[in-house]
Subunit: 337 residues, 2 copies
């Protein structure tokens, strides 16, 4: 049995990690739910028992075998080295270690072998990157990759509980005919789309768009891959979507692309004239792909439409899969109900 | 004064045409509101007076100078030639004549000169195409165009009144915690995105995606332009958005792109670290553009974000502008209130 700490247990990803651990029958021995001092002392039901929430401090990792972090970059930077010193394997969901060459950045189905070189801390990629990398890897193996253009349709739950609450109250205002207000996002999200995820950089891109490029390059081990992204928040509760246009090194027929994607672990290909949407994908483990067609701007290339529950495969599930691989645990496929 | 017939006066675009005619102080003399036999006999307030709705028949165009059609392709094919025989100038909002070499396909700010060759029937482009063509033309003039990848975020009102009603009742069901149902779209649109506008073609593209390519080629007079589109419906009431990635013939700096777009008639450029969204664009006449940045996949090319009220510039306003140009009427800029 494994002694497990979940850091950020009160957040959306933390809650999903607890669900995934239970559904996959992860051999959890002692379970420690860690959070900020503000949440400490509260109680949380998880894996069939009630647990006290403890403050995440260096001392809290004593005796822990596996620490699953989903508490942001600052806490990861402060506490992940402490957890590691205490002997725990750390899987961190923040961006703190994603560019650190000592920390593998891994989607198990894509570059699981990179885990062999881990030194105690493994970085879980950005959710949009996980979706994109899962779609690109089978295409890369079959035909190589030259250029990728991706536009995202990202669910509000990716921005946290306050964002979800804000959308809910904006929708109530809209329904009542009053003017909704925004504070989490720079615009009202209800009945709107916002081409801004998090911030702006000097070059006009958002950090999310840069993560998608930089992390995809690292996971696919293609440091020069051309990746241009537009990341957009949409009023969807759960599951991110992407319109992906790919220039390949060698021509790849849409039928062959359907085949290689269908053979890829963790990918579900939808029927030719059908497509996945966030509502039906929410709660599932797979990356779903449809609308696979010959790209009209990249001769021999492909256009496709991918959807993934960004809290499961995009965060919690991927983190638990990483732990399973390293600890030699066989995971059981689940589904959120 | 001009005797004007509005065909499809009871639809969303027809209603917007009446608003635009009034706001631009179009010199309307006799006004004939035409619709299906089902609507005939009803009454409609327009341009400060009440009008009887008459059935759209060949005889209804007698004495009409200008017939603005927004009643679908079948009615346009049946009645536009009749209106023309009766001496009317026809501007048709359907796809019936968009590929007909005898009928100019025009966005006045882009290829207004093509109107000189008209033979009585002018085609108004698809709304997504108008937005894209308005964004591309200034770039084409400055640097040439080689390849365009566009992903759309299309408002529900583009699919008609039944679609708007469907979304409204789905949202009510979601708010009440019951399961919404869909009939206009193949999926529930509430809290969802649907990568399907209208239908599927043999090659896996939707007709909307094909229109965007074919009509953009014709309007820009670039018959070989590579255009790949993914068209997606989003739960937004009004105004279409597009993430556009452009490979140019010659390098174009983002600052120069901002300048040429800012100088283009009918385009409003947003500040560097700002962006338009559908909620604030709804009701305006301009094509709004923000997030202009150097494209990371097309060196020397551009990424941008465009938003346009698809019922105004995307339909009604563009049609009235075409009529103004041909009839030599000076239009007055308006705004829906």
């Amino acid at each position: 049995m494994t002694s497990v700490a979940v850091v950020g247990a009160t957040g959306a990803v933390g809650a999903e990690i607890l669900v995934v651990l239970e559904q996959r029958a992860f051999p959890v021995g002692d379970l420690r739910l860690l959070a900020s001092a503000r949440s400490a002392g509260g109680r949380l039901e998880a894996l069939g028992a009630e647990h006290e929430i403890r403050e995440a401090t260096a001392a809290a990792f004593e005796g822990v075998d596996l620490a699953l972090f989903s508490a942001g970059s600052d806490i990861a930077r402060a506490l992940a080295p402490e957890a590691r010193k205490a002997g725990a394997l750390v899987v961190d969901n923040s961006s703190a270690f994603r560019a650190d060459p000592q920390c593998p950045l891994v989607v198990p189905e894509v570059n699981g072998d990179a885990l062999q070189a881990h030194q105690g801390i493994v970085a879980n990629p950005n959710c949009s990157t996980i979706l994109l990398a899962m779609l690109l890897e089978p295409i890369r193996k079959a035909a190589g990759l030259r250029r990728v253009i991706v536009s995202t349709y990202q669910a509000v739950s990716g921005a946290g509980a306050r964002a979800v609450e804000e959308l809910r109250s904006q929708e109530a205002a809209d329904a009542a005919g009053t003017e909704p207000t925004a504070s989490v996002f720079p615009r009202v999200l209800s009945h709107n789309v916002i081409p801004w995820v998090q911030d702006f950089q000097e070059d006009g891109y958002t950090p999310e768009e840069t993560k998608v490029r930089d992390e995809a390059r690292r996971i696919l081990d293609l440091p020069d891959l051309l990746v241009s992204a537009t990341c957009v928040r949409v009023p969807v509760w759960r599951a991110h979507s992407q319109a992906v246009h790919v220039e390949t090194e060698r021509p790849l027929d849409p039928e062959d692309a359907r085949r290689v994607l269908g053979e890829a672990e963790g990918v579900r290909v939808w029927d030719k004239n059908d497509f996945p949407t966030p509502r039906e994908v929410a709660g599932t483990d797979e990356v779903h792909v449809g609308r696979i067609r010959a790209d009209r701007a990249f001769p021999g290339g492909l256009a496709l439409w991918g959807v993934m529950d960004q809290l499961r495969k995009g965060a919690a599930l991927n983190a638990v899969q990483i732990a399973e691989r390293i600890l030699g645990v066989a995971g059981k496929a689940g589904r959120r109900t």
